[in-house]
Amino acid sequence: MNADIASMIGKRLGLSALTLLIVSFAVFVATNLLPGDTATILLGQAATPEAVAGLRQAMHLDDPAVFRFLRWLAGAVTGDFGTSYANNMPIATLIAGRFVNTMELAGLTAVIAVPLALTLGITAAVLRGTLYDRIVAVLTIGVISVPEFVVASTAVLLFAVYLKWLPAISFVNEVHSLTDLLRMYAMPVVTLTFVVSAQIIRMTRAAVIETLSMPYVEMALLKGASRSRIVLRHALPNSLGPIVNALALSLSYLIGGVIIIETIFNYPGIAKLMVDAVATRDLPLIQTCALIFCLGYLILITIADIIAILSNPRLR
């Protein structure tokens, strides 16, 4: 039995690695399709053709695309992601600080959003059809329908411009105390929590309602089980699969999809770094950022799948 699980999980991890390889290739092809030539952009409009040709030679830009991809891949496997075209710094150093920032924001948001969303989703399912359920439904649909930049801009307008309670933009370097930290993170985290929770709430509610209609839930009721026992012992373990998948999907958004939030609050995260890299045709940086987003997504989805497998005795 255990060998089966191990091989199933092994297969799942192998698939993830393959996906990562395919995605990195796709990203490489896509960045190469970007219009404009790196050497020209780096040297500016006034550069002489000889200078451009020399730089192209030095950067191996004239090699066939496949070689360039393999060279980059070989480097990436050993932890060397190359050097930024734009400012000649190693990609790893460039990303490291930004990555920590992104993970801080994502982690903080997850810590708040996940328990909140699960509680709201589960309670809405249990109290299905009541006023409470309807209020939760209206609010989640409202949050899903309003674009995040509207939420973020409104928050800035209200709390930073009119009330002047919170800073409008985040300066990581000026954080000296816990209060500073809270003030800096308050608006980005709240906005992201809004965006991420809505999906989790709806998916959790649907999954729990589905299991609550199962005969074994009625059976538990007829054994005299209390409502909380029915939900926690009988409904939740059987809706874990869909719920963790919804969680993984929503949380993966926190790694790569927060560009709008990072821009509005001027938060120095990876998403913003990647957009800047696109502007300067900094191919190695773009590729590495894309790879990090993909890796984050794959890790979350794989964890969700493994939890789903372990929670189901039929697969176990």
Partner: protein
């Protein structure tokens, strides 16, 4: 004897999707003495389960008790607050569900679920509850009682789960146990073991029971008293013997009549041996990866031969999983066979339906068990019946419309139904439409796969009668697949018994009463009879049961 249950003028209301309220239980009175087993019998929708559940103060979503009292041991389950009801559930009154397979939580071990009642009510320490559960497993003659509790629900068979569900109900030492059609989903050979186990445990513990069922023969074995329900009202009640011997109410008489063997004219065996309409030779078929010998990994049908004469019917009978439906699907070409020959009307048919000719497809039709899933819920009846008319005969407009009317008429449905959707029809009506759709092709052979199994006895009887009439009118042949011997006997000229993918015996009408193969003997002997002493007097050869018995 003292009264344990006293239901007076019980009324239950249901709210429809449209918000309309309808009364589904209309003033029912019911008494149950201590230690007495009372059967609630009636067709689906008669309210038997609804009444049984009110004994636990429970109604399904959308329903509520709107009047009357439900006294169980002096406490009114209809009036108690939810918390107090919950305290009684599992201890005073326990429930054995219809489908134990669905009523067990798939993510917990069986033992955890069986002893959950004692944990909820704090009536026993964990270790003691485990011991008690193992005693109950033994009493219910479950195999390896010491270890079966450690398994998950998907690791044990249906018959075992049903007995485990009974153990789950009995562990709280209830005064009353509700059995909700506990053997309906089981094969007859398994049903016997389960019924015997239930009966001995109930009698030895002096526990009162409510046995909900639509099967009079099963009820006759276990109940002291029978209450016949229809449309949410009690039609008749009395001692089991009395109800079976002298039914007073027309509906009860109808139920009993469904058990009478009907005298029907069967076509005489053809004098001259004409070429059979369908010949199946050494067909092998199954599921899974194709092996190096060209056969599938799991062989559900292992080299079966059969033939169907023109105008005559062949019954195929066997327990679930014996390969009878797979055989039907292979003959129809839905699941292409892996080996063998299928010769229809003198021509060899391709294994796969999509490579058969239009006429070959038209002449052989298949009708499935569940009309609910076989009929497109989004289409009106006229569209469902019209499609095969256009597909096979190219009928359009007026001609097609007239033919739809004729088809509805053939299956004895009013023409007004043509604009309705399947969801607006009753179970029996849907199955008639399902059958009419096969008739639309003007077939010569219709394969009926368990088409009466989801229907109530009386409705099923009417469908069988209809099939016979249509056969006379339209010169049809049927292959009739069922797990129910009485249905097959009612319509078939010949019966073939299948076991584990093989044909074990072929019986004609003359020798149907005296099967020779041991499995057929066991199968035929396991069909419950109306006689209440049948189960107690039943002696099955232990050797047979060991070899072929269910569970």
């Amino acid at each position: 004897m003292t009264k344990l249950v006293d239901i007076r003028n019980l009324r239950v209301e249901a709210t429809t999707d449209a918000g309309r309220r309808i009364e589904i239980i209309k003033g029912v009175d019911l008494d149950i003495a201590k230690g007495e087993i009372v059967a609630l019998i009636g067709e689906s929708g008669s309210g038997k389960t609804t009444i049984a559940l009110t004994l636990m103060g429970h109604t399904r979503p959308g329903c509520r008790i709107s009047g009357g009292t439900v006294l169980v041991d002096g406490k009114d389950m209809a009036a108690l607050p939810e918390r107090e009801r919950a305290a009684l559930r599992g201890c005073e009154v326990a429930y054995v569900p219809q489908s134990a397979a669905a009523a067990f939580n798939p993510s917990q071990t069986i033992m955890d679920q069986v002893i959950e009642v004692t944990q909820i009510h704090g009536s026993m320490p964990r270790d003691k509850a485990r011991q008690r559960a193992i005693e109950l497993f033994k009493a219910l003659s479950l195999p390896s009682p010491d270890t079966i509790g450690g398994r998950y629900p998907h690791q044990v068979s249906g018959g075992q789960l049903q007995r485990l569900a009974a153990a789950m109900a009995l562990i709280g030492d209830p005064k009353l146990v509700i059995f909700d059609e506990p053997t309906t989903a089981l094969d007859v050979t398994t049903q016997i073991d389960v019924l015997k186990a239930f009966k001995s445990v109930m009698k030895s513990g002096g526990i009162a029971g409510v046995y909900v069922s639509h099967d009079l023969a099963v009820v006759a074995q276990i109940a002291d008293r029978i209450v016949v329900l229809k449309g949410g009202e009690v039609q008749e009640e009395g001692r089991t013997q009395a109800i079976l011997a002298t039914p007073a109410h027309p509906y009860t008489q109808e139920l009993l009549a469904a058990f009478e063997p009907k005298e029907t004219q069967f076509a005489a065996a053809p004098a001259e041996k004409a070429r059979p309409l369908l010949e199946v030779e050494n067909v092998i078929s199954g599921y899974g990866v194709v092996q190096s010998d060209g056969l599938p990994l799991v062989k559900a049908v292992r080299s079966v031969n059969l033939s169907v004469e023109k105008g005559r019917n062949l019954g195929i009978i066997g327990e679930s999983g014996c390969g009878k439906s797979t055989l039907a699907r292979s003959i129809a070409g839905i699941l292409p066979a892996s080996a063998g020959n299928i010769i229809f009307n003198g021509h060899e048919l391709d294994y796969a339906a999509r490579r058969r000719t239009h006429d070959q497809l038209r002449e052989m039709q298949i009708v499935f068990q569940y009309a609910d899933t076989a009929l497109n819920p989004a289409k009106p009846i006229e569209e469902i019946l019209g499609r095969p008319l256009t597909f096979y005969h190219g009928l359009k407009g007026q001609a097609r419309s007239a033919r739809v009317d004729a088809l509805l008429d053939m299956v004895r449905l009013p023409k007004s139904l043509r604009h309705r959707h399947p969801s607006e029809l009753s179970g029996g009506q849907k199955q008639r439409v399902n059958f009419a759709r096969a008739l639309a092709a003007d077939p010569r052979l219709i394969i009926c796969d368990e088409i009466t199994s989801a229907l109530d006895t009386v409705v099923a009887g009417a469908v069988i009668e209809l099939l016979k009439e249509l056969q006379r009118e339209l010169d049809l042949s049927y292959i009739f697949i069922s797990h129910d011997l009485s249905v097959v006997e009612a319509i078939c000229d010949e019966v073939m018994v299948m076991y584990r993918g093989e044909k074990v015996e072929h019986l004609t009408r003359e020798d149907i009463a005296s099967p020779r193969h041991p499995y057929s003997k066991l199968l035929f002997a396991s069909v419950p009879k109306l006689d209440p002493t049948w189960l107690d007097n039943l002696v099955l050869e232990p050797e047979l049961v060991r070899q072929y018995g269910g569970a």
